[in-house]
Amino acid sequence: MESISSEVRLKVAQCFRTLSSSSADHTDVFDALETLNSYLDDGAESSSCTAAEREEFRRTHYSRTLRVLVGQLQADWTHSLSAAQRSQLWDPLFLKGPPDQALLVLLEAVTQPSAGLDRLVSVTERFLQGGRLADLLWSFCLGSVPSDSAQLRETLLARLAALPDLTANRLHPNNRPLFTPQRFYPLLASEMLAALERTSVLMSSTDGVDCSLTFVAQTLGKVCLQGHSGPVLAVMAPRLAVCTRSDMVWQRVSWKLLQDVPERCMESVLTGLLQAADSPDAFSRIAGNLVLTNKKAEFVLTHKVLLLQYKYEVRLLLEPPVVNVSERCGVLPAVCSVCLQVLRSVSQAWANPSAVKHTPQEQQLYVSKALLLAASLLTDAELQELRSDLLQCLLGGMQSHLDSSAVGIRTLGLVVGECLSARMDLSGTKLKFEVRRLVRSLLSFQSILRFKCNNLVSGGSSDDDLPPYDMSGDVEASRAAPPRYLRDCLEGTARFSSFCSVLSISVQMTKVLLHMEDRFSVSGFLVLRQAAMVALTAVDSVPVTQYLTTEFYSLNYSLRQRLDILEVLALAAQELSKPAADKVTAAASGLTPYQSNSAAGWRQEVEKRIQNKTKRISKGSGQPRAGAAPNRYAPVAGYFFFPLLRNYDKPEVTFDLLGSDHLVLGRLIHTLGLFMHLAVNAPIAAQMGAALLDFVWAVRYHADPTVRRGVLFAVCSVFLSMPSQALMMDLSQQLLETRTWLADVAEADPDADCRNLAVQSLVLLDQNLKKQLQNPNGLSLEP
């Protein structure tokens, strides 16, 4: 052993001497180079030295040899080498020896100022092109690196990862394309893949071979940490995803690789992988159960990218652990616990009121997606375990989301609440909001995932390449008949064509309309319904008003329906009190232009000519005078008015007019006032006024301003519409009291409208009084 090493040392030293002595004759130099080369030739033809000698040379003298060569770059013999000689004698020394030492020497030389830079750069280029990087990585995998030390590794890693920077700094514009990051890092990635490939081949062919992926993992980590994870993983992730699909050895290689990534680089590797992996399965296959074995990875995957950032695809993050759960839940309960932990922390993050307030909407969407996804992926049993946590999250989270002022966040709360409650199956109760249309995407997102998850569990099917469409719309057809429209109803009645038939069904129709709800989302439903009811009331007043006024006080109506009744009655009364003739003339005048072609046209023409030729001294009113028409309201005003006064003081269980339902009371009094107002000049106005005054007297000090407003409006309309004689007769007893009350209200009522109305009432009262006093017969009527 000793003899070999000393012999080699002697020989090498002699070569060095030859190289450094600048003799004119270069044959010595060539011989020396050949000798050195012979130590690197693995082939059998070089019998000049033994394997042991070669080993010795590689271990001890190689690095120094290269340094000497670099140092002699300016020597004469170096310049005199022909291209062929260079590629036969000089370059192989760099390309055949241990790649780690070669790379170190080359990069060291490139970075230091030296002559012959060109030569060095082209050798480096050949080094990279020749796949020496894979050899380098592979030698570390096998542990066959002669002089492996932590320091050497560190230096090598730093140089390797920073090669583009080093060369760029030194070469500036003369940099080779291969050294640019765009080309170097993909190259490095494929070299790493090549090393991994060799590892997997070795592992599958023989047993018991130690193979360390530490250096490759360190390289990967280092490169990713320096921010080049994009180009590197863009090459590596797809290949790894494909290889790990069926090959167990590759899976082990891939998992080991990620496990060996140094802790400080773990995050950058994982985030890079998340962005490069194209599907959750791929990510899961590549990473294996890294989440369980590596604390840092667990933190990054289950906390950092999930709760603090929001740029990744949620699916990638959540599915791997959950899929793992479904695959080997029995084997590894720890995975379950990780997964449940994830769901728990996500749900807490979702429900956190401070987060709802202060984090951006995108982040909340991200967390919501994660929550829905996690909930849809877990099995029922696991969900049961988390039930109380989830319920708490649901309640608190809904609260804080609904309190938010942003519409998007409120909707988000509704959707997540709905989905979660549906998933948790809270003993049959589900939250249900009408937000489906808005967030179809979110819901379909969940259903698809559920489907996918089921599919994974069941092992897939051969129709797999036919991705299903969203089938959430496929629900059981309702047994109810499709909606019929009142239009059809009218058509039906028109077919039996008589006005009487409309009258005979008016009450039934009113009944139907009154109870109708907007179940089919007819646009403008409320307006249409009201118009229909008003029309019915106007056409067939007596029975319909009788029906409506009775129903107003009966049991089992909602406030809304009672208010509807009042509104319909008021509108119908207005409709009736309008002179009907107006409409007819308007319609007729509207039609005239279209009749110009008809037979009567000539008469108009003649008329017009006569008008043109005729001279008039003065023109009377051109418009025809409004024709007199009977007031259709006056005869039926009593039907509208009196039944409503009948039952107000009989409280029902569901309807207490003088108690809590003061909104309806105010409305009722206002409507009565309106009836009164419309009944001006009707014979029945006197009785109506008296009854109304009686009625409102009891509630004139009601606590609710709307009621008081109604009362004052009613009083005003009584003063306006009641014949003053009848008014004075009726009020004579309480004239003073009324005045005082009105004056009081006008002065002291807290509600401005009430004060105005009271003042108006006072004015009206005074006018009435004055009129009455001016009328000489007025007082004589007084008893």
Binding site: G408, V439, S441, L442, F445, D463, D465
Partner: protein, 341 residues
Amino acid sequence: MVLICVWPAPDWSMSRPTPCPVYTLRGAGAPLNTLHFSCSRGDTPLLFSGSAKGAVHVWNLNSRRAERVLEGHGGNSVIWVSTLQTGDTLISQGRDMRVCLWDLTEGRSEALDSVWTGSVGFCQCSVLEMSPSSYLLAFAGLQTEETKIIEMPSKNPVCTLTPDTKLGMVMCLQLWKPDSGLGPLLFAGYEDGSLLLWDVTQRSELSRVKAHPEPVMCLTFDPGRLRGVSGSCEKQLSSWMLDDQNHIQLQDYVTLVNPGVSQLRIRGDGRLLASAGWDHRVRVFGWKKLRPLAVLQYHTDMVLSVAFSDHQDPRQRLLAAGSKDQRVSLWSIYNQSANTC
């Protein structure tokens, strides 16, 4: 609305909203009982439809208009149309108990011949081409359970098949010829839910199975996989298989959301199955595993028929559905080859 704005466009390859029809054909003016594509020959892809008012519309799928309207059944509902591979012959069956043959060559549209069937039911005929010049036509006969098979165009009767027990009316038929070299076979579905396999040359019953508790409304059979599926007026599709001894073996049931199927069709490449539902929807299943893939909602009344087109370019393939609401909807679905996902 705010939410929609904020939401990033979902880019899952899995997430696909419910599809919409590519286009619809209206103007038939009556419920459409039957559809038949003819797209592989000639330069104009055609769709034939038979309406409840007795008209056969020939739709040009390029112009999307009815090219011709053939009226040959005296206003009686047309329940089946088909074309022959060879020559421009159209066959239509009406409820006037007649099957009409039409010559459509060079724009002609004249009735060549007609066959009197005597069937008052709704059973659609089935046609099987034996050679370029002759084909078999199976149809329900005058008697309740009778199926007749004749050779066309000579109209020579081949056989009359009558089951030995009471099974009720014949509801649906499908003739096919196995690769094994046996004579043509016939599947027939009956009113009591039975499914029979007949050997046409031997005139014997090969197998019988009770596929449904209710009448068999429709059936379709895939000779390539020796598998078939039948539908009824209940919620289940029943799939079955033919074993080596030509026995029908019931396989699994597919449960639908709503009951009632008018027609079932398998796409030419044996990958998709479509059903025309009484619930106004067309359902699409993967044919291998009967996995539900899509629910096509467009029609407002019962869907009466579905058909897959026979385009030579798989990307142009269409699915057509004809409905009682007097419209035909055309869908382009799963037309990319297997590498889509």
